[in-house]
Subunit: 323 residues, 2 copies
Amino acid sequence: MSNPVVVDAMGGDHGPAETVGGAVAARREHGVPVVLVGRAGEVRGELARHDAVGEIDVVHAEEIVPMDEPGARAAALGASSLRVGCELVGQGAASALVSAGSTGAIVSCALRGVGRAPAVLRPALAIALPSAAGGATVLVDAGATSDPTPEMIAQFALLGVSYAQLVLGVPDPSVGLLSIGSEPGKGNRLTRRAEELLPALPLRFHGNVEGHDVLAGTVDVIVTDGFTGNIVLKNVEGSVRAVLTLMARSGVAEPEGLREVARRYDPETHGGAALLGLSGTVVVAHGSSRAATIARACVVARDLADGGVTARVGDHFAAEPVR
Amino acid sequence: MSNPVVVDAMGGDHGPAETVGGAVAARREHGVPVVLVGRAGEVRGELARHDAVGEIDVVHAEEIVPMDEPGARAAALGASSLRVGCELVGQGAASALVSAGSTGAIVSCALRGVGRAPAVLRPALAIALPSAAGGATVLVDAGATSDPTPEMIAQFALLGVSYAQLVLGVPDPSVGLLSIGSEPGKGNRLTRRAEELLPALPLRFHGNVEGHDVLAGTVDVIVTDGFTGNIVLKNVEGSVRAVLTLMARSGVAEPEGLREVARRYDPETHGGAALLGLSGTVVVAHGSSRAATIARACVVARDLADGGVTARVGDHFAAEPVR
């Protein structure tokens, strides 16, 4: 049996009330070995509600990282559930971490506790967005690294390809570089340099794509810097919400139909966003995640851990010091 | 009577078939003095259809800038309607230009033919996006300057404030800086430096806003670099389209209701996007604009020309050479 997935029991808006149920469901329904990290008393109380005391190991961690804690401060905090969880992955005692904590805190703690994969310059967050046409497009980096170099963007593309293969099951994913025109050479300084690097990589480079391609299913993977990616991700959520608000107010749609579309673009249903490029697997669940979402994130975490997501990067970039 | 607004008759997907009707409507319905620039024979033919030969002056220009022409090549082209139109504004013979040509071509021709306003470092494109709550938010820069400095972003904010006052009639617009977290200090290198400059300016700085604030009506003006702004603008259009496609396919909404929402976010109904920071006024209509949209763009152009949109920038930044 492979090493367990460690679930940060204290992360997220709901804490153990949802994360523990998620861990129990991951084990019972999906056969994922799990361990919970957090305040042992609270966590065991929740396990008892699911009749699962003794079924899932609990590692005690006294501190809780608040959802609004800046990343650097979160990493400096003592033995938080997030930090201890990352260290379990870093030490090889766990195969992956699932946390519904804040992305910034997870990135900081994971860099310290898990560490970067040998050849990777910076981690990137990958998230699968559903397309109007069916299927999904992986957006990478959705917010881990705000000021990447062109070389980092090229690595993000390789990480995104691995994610699309392992999580979405796309054998040979196409990759688009997010820019302001589809023609070659369109973009800012960063994308123009990244555009020169991408054709040399072992991936199917489609060329530049634009903002309207994000949900159009134009490509399987859209690569961008973490600043643009995070704004785009939140802009999708806000735009969907704005349209549904207008529709609900005007009464032109049935409420159940609106709820169905809202669910499709709810961050909860994206599955887990994966923080890629580390020496271990870290899956970021949305802060508002309920138990079923945590369980799904555990499945994604196991699949990513088994799949060796950073192998491609290691094959094509020599290890270099952190810039 | 003030100087006329010059309409680029050959710009846009439909050319004179729509632009000439738009110019006629601007004059007859809104009292905007106009002049048309383009192939005189074709333009007069269209004027005849509206019984308007002799009512509107025509300036001949032989060349047409193709919609997919890169900006720099468009400016190098001979006497195109776009270039001649810009020169009429630059010479003071026209108060403003309206074109439905490609943004890149308009920016290049306007920089050459109209020129930058004295203190302005770079132009910015401002566009009003309708909010779910009612009202609108000005997005600036929506795609004129891909790699601005922090000082340019600060100027874009002042230009956006003038646009919100003159076009939307908001007396004291609030300004948000588009970033990846609402807390101070969140962002990339560029936004963190811009965030330090904005509080010193004569505008109501709200602080950082995020991707989901673009359509939420959080602030009156959202300022960003032209790369991010262009991606966000197209991402809004694409996200709205994706939701409407899903709704139409699932049959949960009445088609007329869907059309109403689509119209609201159709680029055609935004009114004109304004290219701000030039020595004259330039309004960019969407390439797909029909006559009514061209007419509305002429009204916006006249109002902006009368209002002196760059005065605030001139008051607070000393003129410097182009960087």
